[in-house]
């Protein structure tokens, strides 16, 4: 039995009359890639938003590494070791690729006024460490991206922006990474490439002793089939199935949920 990294119990999120998460029980096992699937509006993104502290759960609890993190501030949850990407990319477009990645390492950057204004040599060392790490991460995705480190993100293509977003989420060495439809808006080939990259980065981090567990929301079923160890299917905020991709694909209720909503 593998250890449980994150566990939601009875997690409920209501928006006025809409119940986006309905007493959801969901466990993420350490070192797995968990697929989170379900029709549009089934509460997948809401789950991420509640876990990362953007929304305060209406009821229920979330534990991470055995500590309760329900209704904690987003900042605290980040420091606990959970990072994410967004369904609609949320990069700071006028800032450079480096800036966007570096902010992901906020907890390891020194923020004191005196340090930043007067200890420029020490700042420079920290800057160079982060620069190297950003380059390393980018290079796993695409060598060409390293040359664009000081371009504003607004100059990048969608797929490159996704990569940058994933690098931002990885630079702080999180234990849990939440990916919200990383392939949204990409062609088939681009999706394939991105997924290989993600798996490769994960492998590299694991070899360096920083293994990261991943929860991925995806609509592309062949992606889910390829990258996940296990899947959870949501419908109307409830878990309707759980298991390997083969198991859930054969599940009658899952098929009904997808057919019913289409």
């Amino acid at each position: 039995m593998s250890t449980i990294l994150l566990e939601a119990r009875g997690l409920t999120m209501r928006f006025g009359g809409v119940t986006a998460l309905d007493a959801l029980n969901l466990a993420v096992h350490k070192d797995e890639v968990l697929g989170l699937i379900g029709p549009n509006g089934s509460g997948k993104t809401t789950f991420f938003n509640v876990v990362t502290g953007l929304y305060a759960a209406s009821a229920g609890s979330v534990d991470f590494e055995g500590r309760e993190i329900t209704r904690r501030a987003a900042q605290e949850i980040y420091r606990a070791g959970i990072t994410r990407t967004f369904q609609r990319s949320r990069l700071c477009l006028p800032l450079t690729v480096f800036d966007n990645i570096a902010i992901g390492n906020y907890q390891h950057l020194q923020h004191g006024l005196l340090f930043n204004l007067f200890r420029r040599q020490a700042l420079k060392r920290q800057y160079q460490e982060n620069l190297e790490e950003a380059c390393r991460l980018l290079a796993t995705f695409n060598d060409k991206l390293v040359d664009r480190l000081f371009d504003p993100v607004s100059a990048l293509t969608m797929i490159d922006r996704r990569r940058v977003e994933i690098c931002r989420a990885l630079i702080s060495r999180p234990r849990l990474l939440l990916l919200d439809e990383p392939s949204a808006g990409m062609t088939h080939d681009e999706t394939h490439e991105l997924m290989s990259d993600i798996l490769q980065v994960r492998q590299r981090l694991r070899e360096a002793g920083n293994s990261v567990t991943i929860v991925i929301i995806e609509h592309e079923m062949n992606v889910i089939d390829r990258v996940t160890d296990r899947c959870v299917v949501l419908n109307y905020g409830e878990k309707i199935a759980e298991g390997t991709y083969a198991q859930i694909a054969a599940d009658a209720e899952v098929q009904r949920a997808y057919l019913g909503s289409d």
Partner: protein
């Protein structure tokens, strides 16, 4: 500096030096122009010159050169101010204006931290400037404290009074935060008008500055020549402005600048990556108001008196329009913008009455056609001239 030599071979330094000289000479003529025709001619000339400069790609060359030799640019700017001031050594009015430009620039550098970096709007800049003047008036008249300490305390008082606004500014966003700062500015002025202890509408007298027995309000006699006492204030203001400039630059090129930028651009993303949003807004707000207070103290001591009418909402708008005109987020834009906004109306009497109308028009035109300002902000380069690029 050794790092700089590696990639500077391509960009020569003369375009930078030429650019600084042209601006310096221009400022000199503008300050000395007497007739309305001459001033108007200079204004039109500047526009034509700018167009010609861009047409032949000279602006770009100056910019590249400036980016390659940041320290030379700084030294050049200081030297230009000193030279322009030295040539006008006995002209009170020209020196008063130049010093005002430097002090307003200092305030705008603070505003730039506030809304250029952190996105905290502040339409009460003049009020914080005024708080500095009043603090100087009270402390310099009623306490034996050394005057430089009073300048620092004026900054502290402005920052502290500013913290009254922090809670509402943090809780509300965008337009509402703007309204709150406007309301604060108006309240501040009304409070002073009815408060007799602070002189009511007539305001207060402020003693001239004195540092280690050196009286700033006495003209300086050198042989047969008598130098304007404004030179004292000019040197002090230049020092304050230059130090502020260097620190603002460093702030931008550090994790602080990065954090503030992210807070301004996307609070949700900021929170998701641990950025303490309140901390950076408070830091920016406090630093900016403190700078306004210090500049206000020096200005008050220079002009010798302070009254509520000097710190209207209109004056706050002037400060904001300087930042917008110069290029939000770019400290280098502030100096020329302050010079344009402050000196031109002073020189062109016929636009004096309409100055607020013209500022409004200027801001609208800039926002419509050149939203990044005269000198748009560049992307962050933490250690310019380094191998990182």
């Amino acid at each position: 500096m050794s790092m700089q030599n590696s990639n500077s071979s391509a960009a020569p330094s003369w375009p930078l030096l030429t650019g600084v000289s042209v601006v310096g000479v221009y400022a000199h003529f503008l300050l000395h122009a007497e007739s309305q025709i001459a001033v108007l001619g200079l204004a039109v000339g500047a526009i034509l010159l700018l167009i010609a400069f861009s047409r032949f790609g000279w602006t770009a060359r100056v910019a590249t050169s400036a980016a390659t030799y940041p320290k030379l640019l700084g030294a050049g700017a200081v030297a230009a101010v000193v030279l322009v001031a030295a040539v006008s050594y006995e002209m009170h009015f020209a020196l008063l204006m130049l010093t005002t430009v430097l002090l307003y620039s200092t305030v705008c550098l603070g505003l730039n931290i506030q809304f250029g970096y952190s996105g905290v709007v502040n339409f009460a800049g003049a009020a914080f400037f005024g708080i500095g003047s009043y603090t100087a008036a009270v402390l310099a008249s009623h306490s034996p404290l050394p005057h430089l300490l009073i300048v620092a305390l004026a900054g502290l008082v402005a920052a502290l009074l500013g913290s009254l606004l922090i809670l509402p500014v943090l809780r509300t966003r965008g337009h509402y935060a703007a309204l709150i700062t406007i309301a604060f500015g108006i309240l501040f002025k009304t409070f002073l008008e009815v408060n007799d202890a602070l002189g009511g509408p007539q305001g207060l007298k402020i003693p001239g500055m004195e540092i280690l027995g050196w009286k700033f309000n006495d003209n300086i006699a050198i042989g047969d020549h008598e130098l304007s006492f404004y030179l004292n204030y000019l040197v002090l203001s230049l020092a304050l402005c230059a130090v502020t400039f260097v620190l603002v630059r460093r702030l931008e090129r550090s994790w602080m600048g990065l954090s503030m930028d992210v807070v301004r651009l996307d609070e949700t993303a900021a929170a998701t990556f641990g950025v303490d949003i309140a901390r950076w807004k408070i830091t920016a707000f406090t630093l900016g108001n403190g700078l306004a207070g210090m500049a206000g103290a020096i200005y008050g001591m220079m002009t010798g008196f302070v009254a509520p009418n000097n710190f209207t909402f209109g004056d706050s708008l002037i400060l904001v329009s300087i930042v917008i005109l110069g290029g939000i987020g770019n400290p280098w834009g502030i100096l020329p913008a302050a010079a344009i906004v402050l000196i031109l109306p002073e020189k062109l009497q016929f636009i004096q009455e309409y100055r607020f109308l013209l500022y409004a028009l200027l801001v609208i035109l800039i926002l419509l056609f050149r939203p990044d300002g005269l000198l748009p902000r560049k992307i962050r380069n933490y250690f310019p001239g380094d191998a990182g690029r």
